[in-house]
Subunit: 134 residues, 3 copies
């Protein structure tokens, strides 16, 4: 399989969910060798980011920081009431391109890959695809 999707279930309204092991586990059977893996989030109130995974407090602080500066109670026009989540989605971004070397994900020492839920809890999924490199 050179492309596919991963399921992610969020339990809270906002949370960063570590999906690094899920990505690693699809690389070995894919046997891409050296290349890139592209992750794509098809949801408009969620995102994908890379950040520190060693201390779980970092992902909580990221949520706390976003919640502190994003205006949560403007007179927004979108009737669903989740405009702040849409704004966070565009700030964090919908996709990631990661390096793969010898079937292993290349990450910095403290880096992990996170699915960012901004309007949960919900059942979500992420699309992935491998790309060749020179």
């Amino acid at each position: 399989m050179k492309s596919g999707q991963l399921s992610v279930s969020s339990k809270r309204n906002m949370e960063l969910i570590d999906i690094t092991d899920d990505i690693k586990s699809l690389l070995t059977p894919a046997a891409v060798g050296t290349g890139l893996i592209h992750l794509y989030n098809p949801h408009t109130t969620a995102g994908l980011t890379i950040n520190e995974g060693a201390d779980p407090a970092v992902r909580e602080d990221i949520i706390a920081g976003l919640s502190a500066f994003i205006p949560l109670h403007l007179p927004f026009k979108h009737a669903e009431g989740n405009s702040p989540a849409h704004l966070m989605a565009s700030l964090i971004g919908s996709s990631l391109t990661l390096l793969v070397e010898d079937d292993r994900l290349v990450l910095g020492q403290w880096q992990r890959v996170f699915f960012c839920e901004f309007d949960g809890p919900r059942n979500r999924h992420i699309l992935w695809r491998l790309a060749t490199t020179l």
Copy 2:
């Protein structure tokens, strides 16, 4: 054609312009089949993002939200007076990589692709290029 550019004209100082149909219309003649399309914005006071397109209020709320938290009247040093637009450009990002399957753009149910004007109105353009995948 495996690469090219799209023109976008903004009418307001800040606005999100839906360019999804423009991207879709270049995929059929390109006949990439399955791969990735990379979009690149060469302007420093604009960006590219993916968000909800069904309700036009969402894109207005994103502009309203950005305008509420980005400091608009700091004693900025850049004499052109558009430093907030430069900051928004770096927060939203200059490029997008999107999945293509059977010559069709892969987007989530509510997702559309937007050119983000932060210092308009101006005539802008976006570069695109198709990339192979495994």
Copy 3:
């Protein structure tokens, strides 16, 4: 060489460092012709962005703007005290995909590529890899 790494040394706590010439200088020997170059930052308190390089004031204003809206003194849980830098890293993003044409980097007229230090001074590095296109 179709992949490698660049060293970057920051001198201040927060700064944008222009790495455009470093990227240009690796493209000629790589002789990729036409394709994409992917830049990856493996650090969790730094990022990569594209913005105006002609006026050095722009990069200073971006730092000033981030420092003005990012909450710097919340009761963060991460004991290292650099949670704002982690948040900035996720907002700015960890990677960039750039167009290459005839061994030259494709950038807009005013664009330059910047390494963003949010928790310096430190010795940092960036990974790069070339990718084929159609």
